[in-house]
């Protein structure tokens, strides 16, 4: 059985990180080159961690399924990154960022981690500027800020609508420099398919060369998973089409506990689904809600063109329901409110499942030039996809799956329940509770990668000096064999269903039952439906082509196997968390005006799932709890009214 020791340092919250660093074991610069560290993923988390560790002197091996590190999904982040610089003198501080994040997450995260994140936030901006990241500047040459949902200060730094791209290029360039100097070895087009443990410690991974299909393994003293989120389980999501859960799921099956799997963020401002052919949903940055106003017609079935509907007949539902935060309520609140008005029949568009995001007033007030300098690329992107111009007609938007707060359980050192296995970035569960605030994932990824992991990993590595295991150890051959069998099995079914068709159906089951609104009956039905899809996959999947070749159907099939399992666990987690909190809206637990009702006495904890049974074979999952201690901030009803 696992033991959950979060290793939270002692002392007042402001001093914990400092105390921890003072007491951590260190690896000296001369010894670092004798350690091999395996990093999987080069999004913001992985690229920043790998380059930092290499610059410290560790021997780093980096794995990605992309052809180059710069393609990781972080590249797509648009809106910005938070840091409590208080440049605007609007009352920002470390405590305020901590408070906003804790409250935004509906009091379901670990205080010590969140506080540390806030403490490290300002250094990220300094670091990135030093690397040459061109953050937006004001006319006087100072860094500019914008505001994001769920907060009352302006603390978001940005590069037009391509902040993730610019931050990732900074980290990617730092990584390329280390590759050039021989401190990092890159394995592109190499997908991790399993984790290798020796004597209970993570000692390596098994991966597939996606070009020739060969299976290999590699050994090291630590494995860092920076593999992003699993939102693509829903099939339709704002994630890139290759984003998947395999790395963290396979680690879970080898003993790494999984925390809060059902906590998934549904982003309120995305381009609505247009048909069954759709392969991904496009996000329109939340920053649009700074100037755009969200509304639906007051009258059901009002088919007039939006411009013809007078103000009195428009229902600005966010402004009416939440006067203080208005259009800038947090994402979970905004998404649910959109669903509610559409379920009531007020939605716009042919499907009735979209709402207007209108810039008419902002353009009238500030002029089209100002709006287009701020949001031009988002307006163009929308027009490219839908064929309609948001300068003339309002955007039509609807919520879509965006981010996973859940992920591998980690302690304060970002180590999972398997010693030597670390998880950083979106792959872990640590900082966003039951709902993440905008612009704080980039912050967390870079805090983890630049500042936290590089200073906590030594503690676990130091005792392993010269204690090396090589891939000659029989455990490597064993796991490689299991991976080959798995591939052979899925290739040999030759049934009638393509992985894509099963994935689409899985996505629909999870979206309908474990999405913006959940209930017991729906979740129980979903568990049965997912089991039926698992059965269909095992007995009737069809994958053509060869396994020793580029085979995108096979890649999809292998990923789908793991999506089917995590989808099941998400529904179980949602079922057993018999309360509402943040993104997790259980219809049975709502207030009279339809807001979430938390139950801190029974659910003031992280749900932590352990895969039981024979290693890699069992099916039963056991639910454990990490009790959350509220030392600094007592949970309060989260109101944005």
């Amino acid at each position: 059985m696992i033991t959950l020791d979060a290793k939270i340092p002692s002392g007042p919250i402001e001093d914990k990180w400092h105390n921890h660093l003072e007491n951590a074991k260190l690896v000296g610069p001369r010894n670092r080159p004798s350690y091999d560290v395996i990093v999987v993923g080069t999004g913001l988390a992985g690229a920043s961690a790998a380059s930092s560790l290499a610059a410290q002197g560790y021997n780093v091996h980096v794995f990605i399924f992309h052809d180059t590190p710069r393609r990781a999904h972080s590249i797509a982040a648009q809106g910005g990154i938070n840091a409590c610089k208080n440049y605007r003198e609007d009352g920002d501080s470390t405590y305020r960022l901590f408070y906003d994040t804790q409250k935004g997450g509906d009091f379901r995260s670990r205080e010590a981690n969140v506080y540390r994140l806030a403490q490290n936030s300002t250094a990220i901006i300094d670091q990135c500027v030093a690397q040459g990241v061109p953050f937006a500047r004001e006319y006087g040459g100072m860094l500019a800020n914008r505001s994001f949902g769920g907060v009352l200060v302006e603390r978001t730094f940005y590069c037009r609508g391509q902040t993730g791209q610019q931050l990732l290029l900074g980290a990617y360039q730092a990584l390329e420099k280390e590759i050039h100097q021989g401190k990092v070895k890159l394995y592109p087009k190499s997908e991790m398919l399993d984790l290798v443990k020796v004597d209970g410690r993570a000692r390596g991974i098994v991966y597939r060369n996606m070009v020739d299909g060969s299976i290999h393994s590699i050994a090291g003293e630590a494995v860092v998973l920076a593999t992003g989120g699993y939102g693509a389980v829903y099939y339709n999501s704002t994630n890139a089409v290759n984003s998947n859960t395999t790395a963290i799921w396979r680690a879970h099956r080898r003993g790494a506990a999984f925390a809060n799997p059902s906590f998934v963020q549904i982003h309120p401002t995305c381009i609505p689904v247009s048909g069954d052919h759709q392969s991904k949903l496009t996000l329109m940055s939340e920053s649009l809600r700074n100037d755009g106003r969200v509304w639906v017609p007051r009258k059901k079935g009002d088919k007039r063109s939006p411009g013809d509907i007078p103000d009195a007949e428009r229902y600005y539902y966010l402004e009416e329901r939440y006067p203080t935060f208005g259009n800038l309520v947090p994402r979970d609140v905004a998404s649910r409110a959109a669903k509610v008005v559409c379920d009531e029949g007020l939605g716009a568009g042919s499907t009735g499942y979209s709402v207007y995001l209108d810039f008419r007033d902002a353009i009238a007030e500030k002029g089209q030039d100002v709006i287009s300098e701020k949001y031009g690329n988002l307006f163009d992107m929308y027009e490219e996809i839908t064929g309609e111009s948001p300068y003339q007609n309002p955007f039509r938007i609807y919520p879509a799956v965006h981010y996973c707060m859940g992920g591998l359980w980690v302690d304060y050192n970002l180590q999972t329940t398997i010693p030597g296995l670390y998880a950083i970035g979106e792959a872990n569960f640590s900082d966003h509770g039951a709902n993440r605030l905008g612009a704080s994932s980039l912050m967390q990824c870079l805090a983890d990668g630049y500042f936290i992991l590089p200073q906590t990993i030594g503690d676990g590595l130091q005792p392993l000096y010269r204690d090396k295991v090589s891939t000659d150890h029989p455990e490597f051959a064993k796991i490689e064999g299991e991976v080959r069998d798995r591939i052979k099995r899925v290739m040999s079914v030759k049934g009638d269903s393509t992985p894509l068709s099963i994935h689409k159906r899985l996505g629909k089951v999870i979206w309908d039952n474990c999405g913006m609104s959940r209930n017991e009956t729906g979740l129980k039905g979903a568990l049965r439906d997912v089991e039926a899809l698992q059965e269909e996959f095992t007995t009737n999947v069809n994958i053509a082509g060869k396994s020793e070749d580029i085979n995108q159907a096979l890649e999809r099939g292998l990923r789908l196997m793991d999506f089917l399992e995590i989808g099941h666990l998400m529904c179980r987690d949602a079922l057993e968390r018999d309360e509402s909190c943040g993104c997790h809206f259980r219809e049975e637990h709502q207030s009279e005006d339809g807001e979430v009702l938390r139950n801190d006495d029974n659910f003031g904890h992280v749900s932590v799932w352990e895969w039981e049974g024979e290693e890699g074979e069992g099916k039963e999952e056991t639910r454990h709890q990490e009790k959350l201690d509220y030392e600094v901030l007592q949970p309060a009803t989260r109101s944005y009214k």
């Binding site: 920043s48 380059s51 930092s52 610059a55 992309h66 052809d67 180059t68 710069r70 393609r71 999904h73 590249i75 797509a76 440049y87 250094a123 901006i125 300094d126 670091q127 500027v129 030093a130 690397q131 040459g132 061109p134 500047r137 006087g140 040459g141 100072m142 860094l143 590069c159 791209q165 610019q166 360039q173 390329e176 420099k177 050039h180 592109p188 890139a240 089409v241 290759n242 247009s274 048909g275 052919h277 759709q278 392969s279 991904k280 042919s350 490219e384 996809i385 064929g387 630049y450 590089p454 009638d496 393509t498 069809n542 053509a544 082509g545 070749d549 580029i550 085979n551 995108q552 159907a553």
Partner: protein, 271 residues
């Protein structure tokens, strides 16, 4: 139908058919051929790549090997997608392949689909190519040497608004390689100059400015990319609209750097 017509007459739920001529090349083989496919009932709201998904589903159902092509973000930012469509890298319009919509094509049209292959980008299989040479150009100097750790307060060095915007225009490059695929000479000058231009504009890029430009330009040649002959096809096909003015600036910087030698403080390798 032009883009404009399509916009004025939204035809949601409509479908069209296309005749594709797709380059198929087995892995490890140096030769390939065009294979014809007819794809019917394609929703006009689908993207070009979603049309290829539909075709691949059909191929898989028939037990045939699907067409290998690359994509990831499918929103024009990761630079993974890379098809030459009717002779144009990323097809018609100033966008990436993944941003092309079926509504921009005529019903019944015949469309030729090829990989981004050039002298340097070799075909791996079908429509996928190896673009790692671009990474090696970045490795040779496309960065500012800084470790992770405490750094000076960024507002202590003001940077003009216009300068940052200019730098951002250059660093908007998504590394797709369309510029190379479009250039009759297979030059990577636009790609390389965009990185050099970005860093040369910012105060943080100054200490290594000279060594950076020399190393990157020389690496570009060493990788076998052609030299720039001012065809400007790169700019025309760049989905991010990056201007060839950066090539001019790179050439100027290169000359200055070769005259003045290395950086004043020598190479800043922090080992």
């Amino acid at each position: 139908m032009s883009k404009q017509d399509a916009k004025t007459t939204p035809r949601h739920n409509a479908t069209i058919s296309l005749n594709l001529r797709v380059w198929r090349q087995e892995r490890g083989s140096s030769r390939g051929e065009f294979v014809g496919y007819e794809v019917n009932d394609i929703p006009v709201d689908a993207s070009f790549l979603e049309m290829l998904d539909i075709l691949n589903e059909q191929l898989n159902n028939r037990g045939e090997d699907s067409i290998a092509f690359e994509s990831d973000c499918r929103e024009g930012i990761c630079g993974t997608c890379s098809l030459v469509i009717d002779g144009l890298p990323h097809g018609p319009g100033q966008c990436t392949t993944c941003q092309l919509m079926i509504r921009d094509f005529k019903d019944g049209a015949t469309i030729t689909v090829e990989p981004f292959s050039t002298g340097v980008f070799n075909v791996v299989k079908d429509l996928t190519v190896d673009r790692s040479a671009l990474d090696r150009v970045i490795q040779s100097g496309g960065y500012v040497t800084v470790h992770s750790g405490p750094k000076p307060e960024p507002n202590s060095i003001p940077v003009e608004h216009a300068v940052v915007e200019d730098a951002l225009d250059a660093s908007a490059c998504i590394g797709c390689g369309a510029c190379v695929a479009a250039c009759p000479n297979g030059s990577a000058s636009l790609f390389t100059s965009a990185k050099i231009g970005h860093l040369a504009l910012l105060p943080q890029g100054q200490p290594e400015r000279n060594t950076r430009v020399v190393n990157m330009v020389e690496k570009m040649d060493e990788e076998g990319f052609g030299s720039c002959r001012n065809y400007a096809e790169c700019q025309a096909s760049c989905p991010k609209g990056i201007s060839i003015k950066y090539i001019g600036r790179m050439n100027g910087d290169y000359i200055k750097a070769t005259i003045s030698g290395g950086d004043r403080r020598g190479e800043m390798q922090a080992n």
